[in-house]
């Protein structure tokens, strides 16, 4: 069953797969996780702010994003971002947006909803005494968040945030629907060019599997190390 397979095609395409494909995937994953964390924290703060309207808006955003499939959201932003760009820059017609920018905006907006739920749980896990002590010391709301609550919330939620980032790493493969050459897209391009679907898809699966396995093993180690602090 393996007789007419040619695994040499993998070796020949390695530079393209990793230098172009995987670097796109990792860059997209890293920047989306950072952006998602920043916006997610802001959304979580809005939900917990005590201002009814602000909380309602943030909650609606999160529920809305979480009830849509990522593929649909990718299509939405792919067509929407040029118009948003036009609106922001005041240009006469929809601006041209590159594949990377478009998918980065998509993943930041989408992941912000998921990261915000994690950060909200993290902030709520901090005992009431902490912000109370902060305000007794004369810290303002933003100082208390900045120096007391958020660092602890972030630390407590670090394993969950990293696990979500592994999910994000796998989800970036969905930019395939826009024919963008991320790692899977690159593998698929070579596969179709050389008629080597079996070899390339098996290899792509193995690469995703190894990276995710190693990363989640790392997260478990980290969790064991930071779990006993209290």
């Amino acid at each position: 069953m393996f007789d007419n397979l040619d695994f040499d095609v993998i070796r020949r395409s390695l530079p393209y797969l990793f230098l172009d494909g995987m670097s796109f995937t990792l860059m997209l994953t890293g920047l989306s996780a950072l952006g998602g964390l920043v916006f997610g924290t802001l959304i979580a703060l809005m939900r917990l702010s005590g201002y009814k309207l602000l909380g309602r808006v943030a909650g609606l955003y999160v529920d809305f994003m979480r009830s849509l499939p990522l593929v649909l959201v990718i299509f939405w932003f792919y067509f929407l971002v040029p118009y948003i760009g036009q609106w922001l820059t005041g240009a006469a017609r929809p601006i041209r947006v590159g594949a990377f920018t478009s998918s980065l905006v998509t993943f930041i907006m989408f992941e912000a909803a998921y990261f915000s739920e994690i950060m909200r749980a993290g902030i709520q896990s901090i005992s009431k005494g902490q912000p109370a002590a902060a305000s007794a010391l004369g810290l303002t709301y933003s100082q208390s968040m900045r120096y007391i609550v958020l660092p602890q919330a972030f630390r407590n939620m670090l394993p969950v945030l990293l696990t979500q980032t592994i999910v994000l790493f796998q989800d970036t493969s969905l930019v395939y629907v826009l024919s963008i050459p991320d790692f899977l897209g690159a593998a698929s391009k070579v596969a179709q060019r050389d008629g080597r679907l079996v070899e390339m898809y098996l290899f792509a699966a193995a690469v995703y599997f190894v990276i995710s396995c190693v990363a989640s093993y790392g997260v478990r180690r980290l969790q064991a190390r930071i779990a006993i602090v209290r």
């Binding site: 069953m1 009830s67 499939p69 939405w76 036009q86 796998q170 395939y176 698929s188 898809y201």
Partner: protein, 243 residues
């Protein structure tokens, strides 16, 4: 925004010659529901078996459960669908491979089974956690009553564990519905696929995607409402779910 809105587009005939654009989207919606339901049945069956394996004291059983979950959790769903759809028929003996390639509706079956197995790993993790959360006395009492291990699971542990994990199962079911849209890549024209087709035929991008979005939201509301009702009617007094 210089975009030509045309909300009447839904009632105009679509280029396939069968009905309007709205009919196209509704057909997609039905296919999404059909695929998701079949995938969910598969996820529940395999998830239950693996979840039980993970909770057994036997070391072999929990290793099998661990391996299964890691296998399905550490590859993107899209890659898994490609493996089932493009790779599996080539690796099977010639006859079986040919038979697989000639199955009518192959994208539908691949999507249902692929998404189902992908989700079964998540169901297994939830179920194992649910069983682990039961007080040890439950299992001991079952043994003391003379139930075998299988009977203990069947009559004591599983009925309680499933009720405890009903809320996370709801969100896994919603994930199953959302994940069927990934099958657009193997040619399943479900709701997202139909919205995309409508956009390509009519150039009314935002109307098409708005309609698909509204339909997904509607599915969500129906499922969440239904499950809340189910949770209330299945709640065990004195347990977490039975507030």
């Amino acid at each position: 925004m210089n975009y030509n809105w045309n909300w009447h587009i839904f009632f105009e005939p679509n280029p396939t010659g069968a009905g309007t654009y709205l009919d196209m989207l509704v057909a997609g919606l039905l296919l999404t529901i059909k695929t998701a339901l079949l995938a969910w049945v598969i996820a529940l069956i395999f998830g239950t078996i693996i979840g039980i394996l993970r909770s057994l004291p036997s070391r072999t059983a929990s290793w099998i459960g661990f391996g299964y979950v890691e296998f399905f959790r550490n590859m993107p769903l899209l890659v898994q669908l490609f493996l089932w759809f493009f790779v599996l028929p080539e690796l099977l003996p010639r006859g079986a491979g040919l038979w697989l390639k000639q199955i009518p509706n192959a994208p539908f079956w691949t999507a249902a089974i692929g998404v189902g197995l992908f989700m079964s790993a998540r169901v297994a993790v939830q179920l194992a956690a649910g069983i682990a959360s039961l007080p040890r006395g439950q299992k001991n009492a079952a043994t003391a009553l003379g139930l075998t291990t299988a009977q203990g699971y069947r009559y004591v542990l599983l009925p309680i564990a499933f009720r405890i994990i009903l809320p996370p199962l709801t969100s896994e079911f919603l994930n199953t519905i959302k994940n069927t849209s990934v099958a657009i890549t193997i040619g399943l024209i479900e709701l997202t696929g139909q919205a995309r087709a409508m956009q390509e035929f009519s150039f009314q991008v935002f109307e098409a995607f708005t309609a698909a979005t509204v339909m997904y939201l509607a599915i969500n509301i129906v499922v969440v409402t239904g499950m809340r009702f189910l949770e209330r009617s299945l709640a065990i007094p004195g347990y977490i779910t039975g507030k």
